[in-house]
Symmetry: C2
Subunit: 343 residues, 2 copies
């Protein structure tokens, strides 16, 4: 073996020579590429240790501008259904040699900005993220300054960025039309933060269906900013305590059904007979409830696959137009919880 040298002077080609492998193999080891055989990796690592290369590893990755990391920043770790998106995106990225790291924005612009900065510092190769507010000036500025490709998850209004969305407007329109068709006129709607695309679109779909039917919705029956199970519980309890309560509840925010059903049970209001219920997203709870709950469904795994694929194209630097938008359709699964309004 050659004599160890000071790390500052050791180059990738020195490691390659020492290990008796190609320079590309050393690069793949440095980038944690999954195709490197264990024996080969160990030989390269021994050579690096012998030559004192360790300190230069990150510098090398910096020069190449490659960390083989993709970051996904979502508003909350607490959205079970979103795991379908993550799992599928991760599978596609892993296949391409990337590790997916997940972070939570806690739905605050200042955290979104801080994360973008941290990702940049750590030389993350690509980012997928939600935004708490597409119009937030500082967030838009941070996005425009990001040196790596950023892909929006279920957000729009930022023309320059690629995005994958679900057609929430269509889903909400279908759900509302279904309830109107059953004779409901007092339909309460629970949505999340309408500063962001999903809830904004759901509200548009709800209003479009009402407008088509010539109905003016009662503004007292709309509850927004329903972002947790406790919010859904309180909104439902408050709605059902009105002098003139709704005959149908459209729980349009994602994964908020539990809080709503808990409130109805506490108040001894029977789903189906006492009140019709439609969930904004499908779940084991909706499917296995008695009666089963009518729900809006869309393919989150497909969204994850498309998001990862589009981001990979962008990270490769393929010559493709800016601001591509892909929308997956929504559908309504009609079950026993939505029934004709009682006379």
């Amino acid at each position: 073996m050659s004599q160890p040298r000071r790390s500052q002077t050791v180059k990738v080609r020195d490691v390659a020579r020492e290990a008796g492998v190609a320079v590309g193999t050393v690069s793949r080891v440095l980038n944690d590429h999954p195709t490197v055989a264990r024996e080969l990796r160990e030989r390269v690592e021994r050579a690096m240790a012998h030559l004192g290369y360790e300190v230069d590893v990150t510098a090398q990755s910096m020069r190449a501008g490659r960390s083989r990391l993709v970051a996904c920043a979502i508003r909350d770790f607490d959205i079970p259904r979103f795991a379908l998106f993550i799992k599928e995106a991760e599978a596609v990225l892993r296949e391409a040699g990337y590790t997916l790291l997940l972070a939570s924005t806690t739905n605050r612009p200042e955290v979104e900005i801080a994360l973008l900065r941290a990702f940049r510092r750590r030389r993350v190769d690509g980012v997928m993220m939600t935004l708490s507010d597409e119009e937030h000036r500082d967030v838009r500025e941070a996005l425009s300054e990001a040196p790596m490709p950023v892909m929006l998850i279920d957000r729009d209004r930022i023309e320059a960025l690629d995005r994958v969305t679900a057609d929430h407007r269509q889903g909400a329109r279908l759900a509302t039309s279904h309830l109107l068709g059953l004779g409901h006129r007092r339909i309460a709607m629970l949505v999340g933060d309408i500063k962001a695309f999903p809830s904004r679109s759901r509200l548009e779909g709800f209003r479009a269906a009402c407008s088509t039917a010539g109905i003016t919705p009662d503004p007292r029956l709309l509850r927004d900013n329903v972002l947790s199970s406790e919010d859904a519980y309180r909104a439902t309890a408050s709605l059902m305590s009105l002098a003139n309560p709704p005959t149908a509840l459209f729980v349009a925010a994602m994964d908020m059904l539990g809080g709503c059903l808990r409130a109805l049970r506490t108040m001894s209001i029977a789903v189906g007979d006492g009140i019709s219920v439609v969930a904004g997203s499908d779940s084991d709870l909706a499917e296995l409830h008695t009666p089963p709950i009518t729900a809006i469904e869309w393919d989150l795994a497909a969204m994850g696959r498309h998001a990862a694929t589009m981001l990979l194209e962008r990270m490769r630097g393929d010559e493709i137009e800016c601001g591509r938008a892909l929308t997956v359709p929504t559908e309504l699964i009609i079950r026993g919880s939505s029934r004709p309004v009682a006379n």
Copy 2:
């Protein structure tokens, strides 16, 4: 302003002088510390840009050995209840100025090893993780070589590492004793991978309760490696198709209740009357099912809080003994799904 210089020669103290701030302020900006006022951060960033400091940022972080990142690697993104752990751990870490990044091991040793290597390369300050198999030689070696503190989540048998566990043995013992007390003798048990602590402990608790009652469990009623909703569906369907089917199902793996209930519904077997059911973890589904499902419960948020706190102590380098173990208790919530065995 002073004349820009080549980045290689620019030091943190040059940036501090240029920006007219303390060296500590520059460090806090470099580490994305949340307490730095925006105006101050921008002044430092302007000074860095002017002096061409950018390239040295990661190098500085490398020398300080500080990324202000903590990584959490769990077996699957698809475990809704685990979000309680993550959210609480993240809140504690964020308060201390750390960003939590989540990765999935897909429950494979080779991914666990590759992630440990990637975390090390990216100078992650601390790691919390699950392991697919505490006895895996290569994983143990990778853990022993990790330069940063590693905290085990719900795993044991690695004496040198801090760990936070739930008392799954006790939970399974309570659930089994409860069913035995109702007269059940043919109790089927669905568990995950018994190479890892949670399922191994649950099986021990089940066997301990049977042994105390002088019952020898029928090995044909034990199904392990139940790791997905589909696995739970198939295991339940197969168990209920036996010539001598069980009178009670103990679905001990986390978040596997949905698959089990779906199979029972498909086979028109009524929960409570046709078969008693106990869930290994509580959920909206268990609570809001008709009849509600008896379930084992433990405080995952407390586990997350303890894990983050213990890891912070370790990252600070506090002088504390090696291999601290903290266990949170489990309890049984008895509901309508577990009833006396039919005669």
